[in-house]
């Protein structure tokens, strides 16, 4: 289904719960999602996410547990 997936460009995105995902780079971001400073092929973006998203818990849960 995915069109031109090999050469398609994505951007790493994050929501306010600090959950990460990827989004086609040429598309408007859905509300509540913020582009991170990483754009590239899908594998490149996912590799970045593996490095930075070390705790999958939503931010509010993480913070509550920390208190």
């Amino acid at each position: 289904m995915s069109r031109d997936s090999a050469e398609r460009q994505y951007v790493v995105v994050r929501n306010d719960e600090e959950q990460y995902s990827i989004w086609p780079a040429d598309r408007t971001l859905p509300s509540g999602w913020h582009a991170q400073d990483v754009t590239g092929g899908k594998d490149e973006c996912l590799a970045h996410i593996t490095r930075v998203w070390t705790d999958l818990r939503p931010r509010t849960l993480r913070e509550a547990a920390g208190h």
């Binding site: 995105v13 859905p30 590799a47 998203w53």
Partner: protein, 1155 residues
């Protein structure tokens, strides 16, 4: 009679295009310029037919007695009509245009054009003035319809006839009926114009009153004819042989898809009937003017803008980024052909490249380039292209082009006669030559608006679907005129009503809650407070072979269950359990399992179920991934954990709950355990699924998702405290949680199945003994149970009120059997571990065989979308990927951030910000009522010969055969290495039924009939119990061609013809008359080619299915020998005899040709 625009399929004039903005009068030019002085050839003894005429002639042979290609015209004439003058005008027309008195008899094997000397056109006079006024219009309509549907005899003629029906003193309806083999759209303009001229001459209103015919007064003049249609037919033979032009087409269309998978409402029948209807909408003059302005800016024509918009819409609906749109071209390529009546129009396939998400203006430029190139080669007849491209003959699909577009900036032909007021009446548009045939034509009402008429195949489409298509087309045009730079993916696709439904009905917002839902173990504890003595878990053994009940059945009350769970929670907390930790559960079905789930949840930890059947290596990986330190198990299974770095906690030791008592009792905490410090985002469980790579993926599900699920499923299944629900699924599957938790949240009783669960045939005994009211079963197990009930080896359950099936596609035939034998309602449930068990449910009703059973609508709080490859919502009917959002979403995959980010995407359609949705990998489509249907897996979608095939659809068709119990379909390389469709069946008879292929051929288009069918004693299953298509064996190789012994040598002419055809299409040196076509490597496609040649040579229609039924030469020849006479209409015996004689003579010739 209501008036309607002219049937676009016959009335089209053909598009004209030039690179400059303005429409031009220059028609397409043929490749080879013709000499200025064309010799008259129509006087030749046997003038050939044009290629379009030959195609029509062949169709007429294949469908004798059909009125499909009749062109009926009817006009109401008010005023003092001179009927004799009208009749004489008609005869003058036929005198002038030889084609109107041409017939198509045979000379040897081939039809030719014979021009009859007699030009008189018979007019039938009907006087209805004696009929009561109120009934007159209906009588007139019936009269015209009768005449319109009367078949033409192409060999004998006449192919133009007329009726004049008197309905009043000065009011009549004039019907003019032609066969398409003698006219086209522009012909009608000429016909109406010249009829008026000759009529005026006949009534003597010309200024000179002499009826000067050609030349003379301008108002009464018709141009001199320098040629006749037959000259064109001869000339066209040369163009058809233009190898340079053909080579250009072959290169231009190389790799182009020859089918466009339009989303249809009904499955495509194996043989298209040609039945059609037309839906008409309006495009405002202002909108078309905007399109024209856009066209000018892009140095294009409105036609090119319309083509780009049409192609864009087809592309978005089908997912195709390379497609063919057919368009008629006028074909009157020489000045001398312009004043001629005749079937000149040719179909030209325009190849549209939509790759790379082009802006609309960019797309218009691409269409312009492709069209201009095609225009240089438009003289090559469409039929020649189809032949030379070797497009597979599939009687289910119009060849090469399934979607047509015509644009006319002038209104269609209107009749007029001097002194009378004429009005064109309804025309009969009950045929469709294409799937979709869109005609945009300036309305004749003078408003400046355009009629947008879509003729469609009624076997495939519902009127509402076609109306919605027209609405989409209009919305798309409006959008691109406002912003021509919109990229393809942003063009609007949903109608206004659909966009509203998408925002509301498809995914209704749940009623706002005053407080967050309590976690599921709190919901259960609440029931324990309400009904402490009610049974929460009841273990009943099925009656044994002797019928005796097991006295050791166990029943646990709510109070007891709650106490045990509290005790366990305390014990776990003492071991360090709490939010953020994960406790393993390795237990068989039973009361301990239920206690374990609740105990872990109460402790604040999450649980991970481990499968008692899984190998030790798997357990090691799972416990490591989930960081499990403690596992709840029993003495029987504890040994499995011996080598793992985990501590087993036994549930079945009598004093087990007291083991950790010291610490707790010291605190005096034997009251109900609290939920302090627990948050809705905490994990409730992590369940491992086998990923496609075989590495287990741990899906982490939070309490919020599970709490929503318990309440929503309780409501969907209408569970109450009276329900007794079977616990069938193994704990390692999340369905076990669905059987247990919503039941307990409703105050009902859980009935654990014995370990292992009984064979399907013994399930009834278990359910009846336990007084079960609800069961939730995997579809394949349920299908075996249903077969047992229908076969009499099991009885229908007595107390069951609801059956839930899921995990696999549900067979509609089994559903029908189930309903017939039990009458118990069935809910089809769909969900994924990633979306917390069941997300969608459908209460099944009647489902047509061969269609998937819908999965329904989302449960409360869950959202479902069908999206295209650009993550845009698709309208009902179109197939896309299913995405699930809302309250059921898992947190993600344990320790796998990249996989989580890849499968859980931002949800652009959610009402709130920052939401996510899960990419399911399932292909789905929405019904017009919003109900969803899953059609297959994206990674299982097969591609065979360019067709995208859902194996599930073919499997469903296989299962409609009474002998077939189960079926699987996959693609395997054939002898030539290209993939072909392979079917596998489990049957009652223990072999592939002989008529299975014929059975399928009557239900499926050729491309969906497996080339090879293999019987298996059972289908290979994956560990999850689903059919494992990858583990299917290679099909039996095709038998080599047998050495033809004396008995196998073709004897009769027909056998020799068949053998020759088989050798040709199968590329074999020799074939025996008892060889099976499919064993020799034949496929449904090559069979269709044989069918085409055979019908062609026999000159009569032959049902394709008869070739499947008689797969050997001797059988087929025998069948044809006995069935030949019966297929011709009885009223046409002599014609049928002629045809047979013709067929025989051709066979003889063929034989001679080969020897």
């Amino acid at each position: 009679m209501p008036t309607r625009p002219v049937d676009p399929s016959t009335a089209r004039a053909g598009n004209r295009i030039t690179p400059s903005g303005a429409p031009s009068t220059a028609p397409f030019e043929p490749v080879e310029p013709t000499p200025a002085s064309t010799p008259r050839t129509s006087a030749l003894p046997h003038t050939p037919l044009s290629s379009a005429q030959r195609a029509l002639w062949l169709l007429d042979r294949m469908h004798p007695g059909s009125s499909q290609y009749n062109v009926p015209l009817a006009m109401r004439l008010r005023g003092p009509l001179d009927a004799d003058a009208l009749a004489s005008a008609l005869t003058r027309l036929a005198e002038r245009h030889e084609i109107l008195r041409t017939v198509f008899p045979l000379h040897g094997d081939e039809p030719y054009q014979r021009v009859r000397a007699e030009a008189h056109v018979p007019v039938e006079y009907v006087d209805l003035t004696g009929v009561p006024v109120g009934e007159r219009d209906a009588a007139c309509a019936a009269e015209i319809r009768r005449r319109a549907e009367e078949p033409f005899d192409l060999a004998a003629g006449p192919l133009l006839r007329a009726s004049l029906v008197r309905t009043g003193a000065e009011e009549q309806v004039f019907g003019l009926f032609l066969h398409h083999i003698v006219c086209d759209g522009p012909s009608l303009h000429l016909l109406f114009d010249e009829l008026d001229v000759f009529y005026r001459q006949a009534i003597g209103t010309g200024r000179d009153g002499t009826g000067a015919g050609e030349g003379g007064d301008a108002g009464l003049r018709v141009p001199r004819l320098a040629a006749q249609f037959a000259d064109y037919a001869v000339k066209q033979r040369e163009w058809a042989a233009d190898e340079r032009g053909i080579a250009w087409w072959l290169e231009h269309l190389a790799g182009a898809p020859s089918t466009l998978a339009l989303p249809t409402d009904h499955p495509r029948p194996a043989v298209r009937s040609g039945r059609g209807a037309t839906h008409c909408a309006r495009l405002t003059g202002a909108l078309v003017a905007e399109c024209t302005a856009l066209a000018r800016r892009e140095r294009a024509t409105p036609f090119l803008v319309m083509t780009a918009a049409y192609a864009a819409l087809l592309s978005r609906l089908t997912g195709a980024r390379d497609l063919l749109v057919g368009t008629p071209v006028a074909g009157r390529s020489e000045t001398e052909y312009e004043p001629l009546i005749g079937p000149f129009v040719n179909t030209v396939p325009l190849r549209v490249d939509l790759s790379g998400d082009p802006a609309f203006t960019h797309l218009v430029r691409r269409v312009r380039t492709a069209t201009l190139q095609a225009a240089g080669h438009a003289g090559i007849p469409f039929e020649t292209l189809v032949d030379r491209l070797r497009v597979a003959r599939d009687p289910a699909v119009p060849p090469l082009v399934q979607a047509m577009l015509t644009f006319e900036s002038e209104p269609l032909a209107r009749p007029r006669l001097a002194g009378v007021d004429s009005e064109l009446l309804q025309l009969f548009t009950d045929t469709a030559k294409f799937d979709f045939d869109l005609m945009i034509v300036k309305s004749a009402d003078g408003s400046g608006d355009y009629d947008c008429c879509l003729t469609y195949d009624t076997d495939l489409f519902e009127a509402a679907t076609v109306a919605a298509f027209c609405e989409r087309f209009q919305a798309l045009l409006t959008a691109v005129t406002r912003d021509p730079e919109l990229p393809l993916h942003r063009l609007p696709l949903l109608t206004e009503a659909e966009a509203r439904a998408a925002a509301t009905e498809w995914n209704p917002e749940p009623a706002p809650r005053t407080a967050p839902l309590p976690p599921v173990h709190e919901q259960v504890a609440e029931q324990a407070r309400i009904r402490p003595t009610a049974p929460a878990v009841s273990v009943t053994r099925a009656p044994g072979p002797g019928g005796e009940r097991d006295a050791a059945g166990v029943e646990v009350t709510y109070a007891e269950l709650d106490r045990r769970a509290d005790d366990l929670a305390r014990r776990l907390r003492a071991e360090g359990a709490g939010p953020g930790t994960v406790i393993g559960i390795l237990l068989p079905r039973g009361a301990h399992l239920v206690t374990a789930l609740l105990g872990v949840l109460k402790s604040g930890a999450a649980y991970t179920p481990l499968d008692v059947t899984h190998p030790a290596g798997h357990l090691a990986r799972v416990t490591e991934l989930a960081a499990v330190r403690h596992v709840l198990t029993d003495t029987e299974n504890a040994a499995r954990l011996r080598d793992l770095p985990v501590r087993p906690l036994l549930m079945d030791e009598p004093d087990a709950p007291d083991q950790a008592d010291g610490a707790d009792r010291a605190d005096g905490t034997d009251q109900v355990i609290g939920t302090d410090g627990q948050a809705p985002g905490d994990l409730a469980y992590a369940i491992f699924t086998s990923g496609s790579t075989g590495v287990p993926k741990g899906v982490a599900v939070p309490h919020s998702a599970l709490a929503n699920h318990a309440i929503a499923v309780r409501d969907r299944f209408a569970l109450t405290a009276d329900d007794r629900v079977l616990q069938f699924a193994a704990a390692a599957f999340d369905v076990a949680a669905e059987e247990i938790l919503p039941t307990l949240a409703a105050g009902g009783c859980v009935l654990p199945s014995p370990e292992p669960p009984p064979p399907a045939a013994e399930l009834t005994g278990l359910l009846d003994a336990a007084s079960a009211t609800v069961a939730n079963l995997p579809a394949s197990y349920w299908q075996r149970w249903t077969a047992a009930i229908a076969g009499g080896t099991a009885t229908a359950p007595i107390t069951l009120r609801l059956l839930v099936v899921g995990s696999e596609p549900v067979d509609p035939a089994a559903l029908a059997t189930w309903s017939q034998y039990t009458g118990i309602p069935v809910i089809n449930a769909y969900g994924l571990t990633e979306t917390t068990i069941t997300s969608l449910t459908h209460t099944t009703g009647d489902v047509p065989l061969g269609r998937p059973v819908p999965v329904g609508t989302p449960i409360d709080g869950v959202r479902a979308y069908v999206l295209d490859g650009d993550l845009q919502q698709l309208p009902p009917g179109a197939t896309g990927e299913l995405f699930i959002g809302g309250a059921g979403l898992a947190r993600g995959y344990l320790g796998a951030p990249a996989t989580t980010a890849d499968r859980f995407l931002p949800d652009p359609f959610a009402p709130g910000p920052g939401a996510r949705m899960h990419r399911t990998g399932d292909l789905a489509r929405r019904h017009p009522d919003g109900t969803l249907e899953v059609v297959g897996r994206i990674d299982e979608q097969l591609k065979v010969r360019g067709y995208r095939i859902e194996p599930g659809g073919v499997e469903a068709a296989l299962c409609t055969h009474p002998d077939v119990v189960q079926a699987a379909v996959t693609a395997r390389p054939g002898s030539d290495g290209t993939p072909r469709l392979a079917g596998y069946v489990v049957t009652r008879s223990g072999a592939v039924p002989e008529d299975l292929r014929a059975h399928l051929a009557g239900r499926l288009p050729v491309h969906l009939v497996p080339g090879v069918l293999t019987h298996l004693p059972s289908l290979p299953l994956s560990t999850s119990g689903k059919v494992d298509r990858k583990a299917l064996p290679d099909p039996a190789p095709a038998a080599p061609a047998t050495t033809a012994g004396p008995a196998a040598v073709p004897g009769t002419d027909l056998e020799r013809f068949l053998a020759g055809t088989w050798q040709d299409v199968l590329d074999l040196e020799r074939v025996g008359i008892h060889d099976n076509f499919f064993d020799l490597g034949g496929t449904s496609f090559t069979l269709a080619t044989v069918h085409g040649r055979l019908s062609d040579r026999l000159g009569r229609r032959l049902p394709l299915v008869s070739l499947y039924e008689h797969p050997t030469i001797s059988a087929l020849a025998g069948h044809l020998g006995t069935a030949g006479q019966d297929t011709a209409p009885s009223a046409d015996r002599s014609a049928a005899a002629d045809r047979l004689a013709a067929g025989r003579s051709r066979l003889g010739q063929r034989r001679r040709g080969r020897t």
